[in-house]
Subunit: 261 residues, 5 copies
């Protein structure tokens, strides 16, 4: 569980509720079904026009990634590569096949099998980088999906407010109802802003971060696999891969390595 996403969504909602109560407003006023319908309905209708149905489902599904903690740890990747490099040195490249069988990461596994099959270094890099490029593209599509929602939210909020305003202005017979009617008209704009600024834009930002982490892991793997194939010294490989770590993570990694020794 990525606890920060939950904290953010819950606390944001609570802040809004407190703000309403503190301002002596009625909370139920802010729960207006016609407003819910036009804003959410409008967004979903626009998404249907924007995306073929499978992409639409995939887009919503990626939303759940912001709740899950990324399991992979960059230092783990380096340790694993290091292990592989040591095995390859001692027992030859073919010995990697067995290790690959027990691996969880399909990308690393595929890379090892390609090495064992004797794939040429150039081709190996090209196959793995093509795969990374496509993973990145799919991630970008999903980030754009949530950015679309972030743009559609305020837009449909404004459409809802316009509908409310036009109806209100067309029918000014009873001025005493003007205020409450306008209050209701503004609720759609409020919904649109909340969707954009508490949900969709933040989700898109978090997806971007998770994506760049995953891509980084895969790049570390590619560099590591190519070094293993080239028969480089495990120590040099480790040094090379550590360039991919942030100074903080690198320190953690170095401490861990020392403890293990």
């Amino acid at each position: 569980m990525d606890i920060s996403t939950i904290i953010g969504l819950v606390s944001g909602t609570i802040f809004v509720i407190i703000s309403i109560i503190w301002g002596e407003g009625r909370v139920p006023l802010f729960l207006n079904w016609p407003s819910v319908m036009i804003v959410f309905g409008g967004i979903i209708a626009a998404l249907f026009v924007s995306y073929p149905i499978p992409k639409l489902i995939e887009g919503f599904k990626t939303g759940k990634h912001v709740f899950s903690k990324q399991e992979i740890d960059p230092t783990d990747v380096i340790s694993k590569i290091n292990e592989l490099a040591l095995s390859a040195r001692k027992e030859g490249l073919l010995a990697l096949e067995e290790i690959a069988q027990g691996m969880e990461d399909p990308f690393l596994q595929k890379g090892i099998l390609l090495i064992v099959d004797g794939t040429d270094a150039e081709l190996l890099r090209s196959i793995l980088e093509t795969e990374i490029a496509f993973v990145e593209n799919r991630h970008k599509d999903n980030q754009k999906f949530w950015e679309s929602i972030a743009e559609l939210g305020p837009a449909w909020g404004m459409i809802g407010t316009l509908i409310g305003l036009i109806i209100m202005l067309d029918n000014l017979s009873d001025p005493s109802t003007l205020g409450p009617k306008m209050a209701v008209a503004l609720i759609t704009t409020f919904y649109g802003s909340m969707i954009a600024n508490l949900v969709a834009t933040p989700i898109s930002t978090k997806l971007k971060l998770k994506s760049s982490e995953e891509i980084l892991h895969k790049q570390v793997m590619v560099e590591g696999l190519l070094s293993i194939q080239a028969g480089e010294n495990p120590r040099v490989i480790e040094e090379k891969l550590k360039a991919f770590l942030s100074p903080g993570t690198r320190k953690v990694f170095d401490d861990k390595s020392k403890t293990e020794e």
Copy 2:
């Protein structure tokens, strides 16, 4: 038929109508011919200044692509390439000419004929990639056409509202008509927002998706054709091209391959 586009446009319109009725508004109020004229007329006038007439017609025509289902399936492309690779291996490159005659895809056909003609690999790649680049450019022009509409919609909506407001303010003699007049003035802004957020932006998004799918198919073809020309092993070719598939599609493809075996 791309059913999602229809669902989106129809449901979006229905949501707006329900919203009007639910808000106790008169639906006919929202059908205002002068407003239709200034918003749609203004957009089309601006498009005439922006685009030469043939481009304008082409731009509108591409709109229909969002209603049609893309027929090509990436796994089909790989199967076809695989078949070609097997034929080339067994019967030589010249045997491909006959197969090419029966092909529907002009791009793949052209590529095969260039191979049969003994075109140099470098030149083959350059010709096919130039073609892809130009296809991509034409697609981008069409996406921009719909993005232009998405920007012109709210802009002409605002121009219409300004005209209505100026006339209304210039003639404040009867305050009781103020409300309805302002209601009408706002309808153009409503139209502009609907055009942008239910039609033009979503169409542009969908065109972008369809374009990147088509480009992907063509890239798979280019890689496949070059591999065939180089006389690579059909199994290696298949492995290489599978890097272009998403994990989901790849699984579908692998399952299909197994069933066929």
Copy 3:
């Protein structure tokens, strides 16, 4: 004459006039000299700060390109290159000099003369591509000039409205004049929007299209000239250059070629 530009500008103006009359407004109200002065004056003043005078004049002059029909036809370019390739094959590269003398296009002419002078292929490509790059840069500067106007229009429209509002609010003695005064204040915003959305943005879009067409022609010429210099087969050259055409144009070209045969 690029008839679409005229149609757009004229019809856009007519739509606005009809909209005013239909809304029971007085057309002369929308012709307000102080408003004209502050919006147009402000835009021009800002352009003077933005551009040195020669660039300013050049920027405005390029506006006339949107009224002129691009004469060059991509299929013509290919035919001409083909002709040159045939002459070069039959009579040698030197025979091209005479043909170059009668040419209208200075770019193609320059390229041929460089070939006749025996310029090295690398250098030939570099000289011609540098020239294309600079043509493209000059075009981009001119597109930006009109984009500047498109941004300055609404900005100075708002400045005019602010001036009007401030004066009006400062002097609320006679409330009956409030409406008409505010109407007048809004006219500058109306002008600014019209300049941006009927004139400047569309002109910039059309300039971009015309530019990319011209650049495309020049790129076709460069590829053709290099192929001629390399002594490639005229048929291969034609096939290569056809990759630059859109499928529609290519079909027109093929039909024309057949008729000519």
Copy 4:
């Protein structure tokens, strides 16, 4: 201490306070706890959704960099490289190891140790440039963090104002309280603008400047280290590295060099 940041934040706050007093406003009116809660609470809630907790803490921590003066001076870097080059010339590359021990800069130190270890030039450049690329990426993430705040500020300011307006409009019973209530509703928009335009955007700009300075130093180091490894003449190295300095700094550097001679 980067005094300019302090000057800016303090003077900006003072200008606002003077402006309130000069306008005969009550300063305490602008300190409204419910407004503080919704704007700051909303921003922080959205940041929790956007960033995993460690990134969130890191993002806020980088804010302190805008208060600290960058210690490294580009001319110092060149002097240091020059010294290293002289030592390497006189006593051989191995003599650099000892010098590296006493170095403060971990990047330069790492580079020297890699040279001493006899790392291949290609690999040396690749390791160091990978490290620079990752430093740059981390810096960009932090700039984006503050840009996120700059966008969330006005957005949550508007959400606060909407909540206030909706409550006010829903309850128009006492028109005399309308003004003060609307005043309070606008305070959140005021907070949002202040956060964006006095704090978050400026901090992001300063982080960008500091980052590009640091990257520049690192690039100078890489060029210098590679030149040292290649055994280039110290004078040529100095001339080469001076290209990285601005004319002003270069003059300072030349003057200093002369004084030292």
Copy 5:
């Protein structure tokens, strides 16, 4: 003197003054010291947070470039290169040293001295292009400085208006003063728009143009210097460099060359 900048600033101010008088407004109303303080004070405070003090001073100083006429003429550069090429041909590369001494342009001078020192072509290009890249970066920083002001202007204008509005709404006791107070509140928005649209954005645009001209001159110099070093024919060099000129300038250059012959 770049007369166009003066014309623009003066005429823009005059247009605004005429607009005020024509609208029967009082010009002194638009000179409001509290408004001046909050807008200019706020912008400067934000710039202090954004930039370290030396960068801040440099940023403002570059503003004066928009008043100075660029002295260098591209045709002059080509003539000078031509001269150098002739001398090099006749008297050898070493003869260039003397000519370099009398040169005003430090970039060209440096290039010649590097040639005379026998610098390798690869290194020569790399040193000069690094220098160009850094000049370009410094120019971009300065353009961004003025773009920052263009964004801060309207933002602080809005902050000023918000302060004015909040004070006004909080104190609605005397409705007759409502208009004038709101008029004053809007003056900061007016200032912000003027700063952005008459001063800062246009200055940034002009700086961009001046920068690209200077970069172009430097690129012509690099190409010329490399050709001289390679001992190319002066006529070929001239032809090559002319590709960098716009058709208009090229014609002027050709006419001048003829007159000189």
